[in-house]
């Protein structure tokens, strides 16, 4: 094996640019992905005097606060996963396998929560169900109903993450072979039997996969629990944050982050290595949908109603935010007023600018790096290739909180001091969001005849020229979706970002949370609207420049 590694090394050494690229990329991954993670774990196992110790973890058993945080995070994760998958399955089934009107509109609406800040749902819920909520106070006249706690968190997370389950399940259900249904009906199965014994089992790996993805997202979620958790419902991500920013206890914060990491990595490992091998459908680019024959009209319209209901909730939530942005004081004074927007563009303008700069710098770097790594992983052999692929995908499984804490531990001192700079934000975002670009790049590359790139080499092109002139144009769709994803995520990131902002560089998402915390919901709403607008504009611009639409992203991370 060593001999093969040496041989591979000699091969890429013949193309010096390639060698330099490989070395640089692996070095960056080690420094900006692996090292921060290692620092978190090191800190978690560290006693105040610096020696190895399990004392921090013992606290987990001792302090009820921590035990509850762990339990709550797991329970909420499981619940949200379950509900999200049910909604996602219904929506995916209805929108890919049945003949119903307004599919495109419904698809867009169901997907909308993905491009907004992950806690937009929480803000809407406050507007609707908070102490001065439109529904609870105004409509129902309740004075002692508290939305804070498990029900609030679950509700907001279902709103935020069901669309992700939908996205994952879309590909699975659309890729199911419709002739299987025909074959089952042909031998006399009832419609329900066909579903329960054929369709559902075949989609089960996809369902399990979607469940795990939502579970990971839910456990890593920071914004919703922070807004709606309340004092009596602690959760791991928020508790880790509070330990660090409130009590300045890095060790305990790191410990909680470490605990958060475990279920996340486990779920990721199961999803990637166990379930991926059991997928019974092959998703190759555009899935060919066809009408399912196993839904009776009655069932169809019922399921359709469920999807429409969800879409209506989405509209309602955003309408409420818009309303909140243009009314004077929510709950008391509903006169229309643009003062909140004026505030955003006057006092908050620096924050808006900072956020745009960070996103604009992150996006092309993440996009190109993703395509480059995908190209190297699929098309070239070199020692360390498997390690490179693993390290670059690792961030899928790392919750933002862990990454954020890792970065402040790793880059707050020599040799590399980056805290308080633009660089720390950009680096964190680039390496957290590059996995999606890599995944879709790899998927597209596997469909391109490798002989095409060999032909380019044969005619005289080196690796970089081949990538630039031949590969990149052919993987444009994957490149586009990588860009869009990176931009949206950079604009809406919160869980890692909250540790990395500074006096010099503030982000809109962090500001929104501050405003919510201060009770200034109107300003928070205005910021959210501006953020949404920027994302939509960017989507259009990237579409114009790169020219292709992103049909199916593989997975989404905050």
């Amino acid at each position: 094996m060593l001999k093969r590694g040496w041989q591979e090394l000699r091969i890429i050494a013949r193309d010096p640019i390639l060698l330099v690229l490989v070395v640089l990329i692996i070095a960056s991954l080690l420094v900006f992905v692996v090292w921060p993670l290692a620092r978190v774990l090191l800190k978690a196992f560290q006693a105040p005097d610096g020696s190895f110790s399990l004392a921090n973890f013992e606290l987990l058993g001792q302090r009820r606060l921590y035990r509850n945080a762990l339990r709550n995070s797991l329970v909420v994760g499981g619940l949200v996963g379950l509900i999200g998958v049910v909604i996602g399955y219904i929506a995916a089934f209805v929108l890919t396998r049945t003949n119903v009107p307004f599919k495109r509109v419904l698809h867009t609406l169901v997907m909308l929560p993905i491009i907004s800040p992950p806690f937009a749902g929480a803000i809407s819920i406050l507007f609707l169900f908070g102490f001065n909520g439109l529904i609870t106070r105004r409509l129902l006249g309740l004075t002692d109903f508290s939305i804070y706690g498990m029900h609030g968190v679950v509700l907001s997370q279902v709103f935020t993450f069901a669309p992700i389950a939908y996205l994952n399940l879309r590909g699975v259900l659309a890729g199911l072979n419709p002739t299987l249904e025909d074959a089952a009906l042909n031998v006399g199965a009832s419609r329900w039997q066909v579903f329960w014994r054929i369709v559902f089992p075949l989609s089960l790996p996809g369902v399990a996969s979607a469940f795990l993805v939502v579970l990971i997202e839910s456990m890593a979620d920071f914004g919703n629990p922070l807004v709606l958790g309340g004092a009596s419902f602690p959760m791991l991500a928020t508790q880790a944050y509070l330990e660090i920013t409130g009590s300045f206890n890095l060790a305990r914060g790191a410990m909680l982050a470490g605990v958060l990491l475990l279920p996340s990595i486990t779920a990721f490992a199961i999803q990637r290595y166990y379930l991926a091998k059991r997928q019974y459908v092959t998703v190759t680019g555009k899935p060919t949908a066809s009408t399912s024959k196993i839904v009776s009209p009655g069932a169809k319209w019922f399921l359709y109603a469920v999807v429409v209901a969800f879409a209506v909730v989405v509209i309602a939530f955003y309408a409420v935010i818009l309303l909140g942005a243009v009314t004077r004081v929510w709950g008391f004074d509903y006169t229309l007023d643009l003062r909140h927007f004026r505030y955003v563009f006057a006092v908050g303008w620096d924050t808006v600018k900072d956020t745009i700069v960070v996103a604009v710098v992150t996006t092309p770097i993440s996009g190109l790096l993703g395509m480059l790594i995908a190209f190297l992983v699929v098309r070239r052999r070199f020692p360390g290739r498997a390690a490179m692929e693993f390290m670059s995908i690792l961030n899928f499984a790392v919750p933002g909180t862990v990454a954020g804490i890792g970065y402040i531990l790793a880059f707050n001192g020599p040799p590399l001091i980056l805290t308080g700079t633009l660089a720390i934000l950009v680096l964190n975002f680039v390496f957290r969001y590059v996995p999606v670009g890599i995944q879709s790049g790899i998927a597209v590359l596997r469909q391109i005849d490798p002989a095409i790139e060999e032909a380019a080499q044969n005619l005289g092109a080196n690796a970089l020229t081949t990538f630039r002139r031949i590969t990149l144009p052919l993987i444009a769709p994957a490149f586009f979706s990588g860009l869009v994803f990176a931009f949206v995520r950079a604009m809406t990131a919160i869980s890692a970002a909250i540790f990395l902002v500074s006096a010099n560089w503030n982000l809109m998402t962090v500001q929104i949370l501050n405003e919510v915390g201060s009770g200034r919901l109107g300003v928070a709403a205005a910021y959210s609207m501006v953020l949404l607008a920027i994302v939509l504009v960017a989507f259009g611009v990237i579409n114009l420049i790169v020219g292709r639409g992103a049909e199916d992203a593989t997975s989404v991370r905050f």
């Binding site: 000699r10 091969i11 013949r14 095409i452 060999e454 032909a455 044969n458 005619l459 005289g460 052919l474």
Partner: protein, 361 residues
């Protein structure tokens, strides 16, 4: 004068998924003369494509050397070797039109605008694509794509032209046509070429030299006529064309005794009299005739009975049973004139062009 291409003990090993070592190319030594078209012929998995890819630089040899003239190249990257390869799937760049595809290599080498335009134009005319310069690859037929792949290579004026089963994706008629065109072009331009195929007809029709490969090793090297008339092993005899294998005993260097008949070899076998041999008898050289007399057998002939008759248009194929021998395949030309022999007919055969292999072959 050094040969244009020289392979010295070229070896390629792969690790199989179970961990064992698979030898794809087993210490192959070969020389190719300037301007010759050499075909690597063999069944799937014989190593011919791996060998070609090592010459091109897409596979790194486990050991051995490759020389272009007197220049050692096996350590060079594929983009600096001055070879041009026509791929089995053509590998046309889908996002570039025909002109840009053909011009690509010249652009990589920094050829000036004027010269580039001239060369590309010439080559497009040469392969008959002059009118299609602006077409997109998706609008081309298989044959046209093939020509683009060819043009893209020829325009480079490479030291070595490599072909990886370029005709396997074409229908039979087109394959025949392209065979002739490629060979004509190659001879006209005089570019040394290495051609990989599993189709023996292609190999016979196009090559100056055929290299028959089996399980990573070279079985025989020779002109098509040599390979056909004087195969050096059972494998080669069986792979090229059809063959009957007749066990017999060598009487002297030119005579064998088979099933009681004394037959003459077309070329001598340098073995001791009395040695066991296997004689290769081609179906079209069996000289079949109706037996004049039911029992008599003229000297130097075999006597047999027709078991099965198949009319194939150009030939009639008979399966003939002979006592003491495996069933023989006999092809007779122009059956429409000669008339078909029914199964059960007694026949004599005076096989010619016989070639003996020592031992079991």
């Amino acid at each position: 004068m050094p040969a244009d291409l020289r392979l010295e003990k070229l070896r390629k090993e792969f690790a199989s998924p179970e961990g064992a070592t698979v030898v794809a190319v087993d210490d192959v030594t070969l020389e190719v003369e300037k301007g010759a078209l050499v075909t690597l012929l063999g069944p799937s998995g014989c190593g011919k494509t791996t060998l070609l890819r090592m010459i091109a630089g897409f596979e790194e040899p486990t050991s051995g050397k490759i020389y272009f003239g007197d220049r050692r190249v096996d350590e060079l990257a594929p983009n600096v070797r001055d070879t041009a390869m026509v791929f089995q799937s053509y590998a046309i760049f889908p996002h570039l039109n025909v002109y840009e595809n053909v011009a690509f290599g010249l652009r990589m080498h920094g050829v000036s605008k004027g010269e580039l335009a001239e060369r590309v134009g010439q080559v497009l005319e040469l392969v008959g694509l002059g009118q299609l310069a602006k077409r997109a690859p998706s609008q081309l037929s298989g044959g046209q794509q093939q020509r683009v792949a060819l043009a893209r290579c020829i325009v480079m004026q490479p030291k070595l032209l490599l072909f990886d089963e370029p005709l396997s994706n074409l229908d039979a008629k087109l394959r025949e046509q392209m065979r002739v065109e490629i060979r004509d072009l190659q001879q006209r331009l005089g570019i040394t070429s290495v051609y990989v195929t599993h189709d023996q007809i292609e190999a016979m029709a196009m090559s100056d030299v055929v290299v028959v490969m089996n399980a990573g090793r070279v079985e025989q090297v020779g002109s098509p006529r040599e390979i056909y008339a004087r195969p050096e092993s059972r494998f080669v005899a069986d792979f090229i064309g059809d063959a009957n294998f007749l066990p017999g005993v060598l009487l002297d260097t030119r005579t064998v005794r088979i099933a009681g008949a004394t037959l003459t070899l077309a070329d001598p076998l340098q073995e001791q009299p009395g040695a066991s041999v296997v004689v290769v008898a081609r179906p079209e050289a069996m000289n079949l005739a109706r037996a004049a007399d039911q029992e008599a057998r003229p000297t130097g002939t075999l006597l047999g009975t027709v078991r099965r008759t198949t009319f194939l248009g150009t030939i009639a194929r008979y399966m003939v049973a002979v006592e003491g021998l495996p069933d023989l395949q006999v092809d007779v030309a122009s059956p429409a004139e000669a008339g078909l022999l029914a199964p059960g007919t007694r026949v004599t055969m005076a096989p010619g062009a016989l070639h003996a292999l020592a031992g079991d072959g």
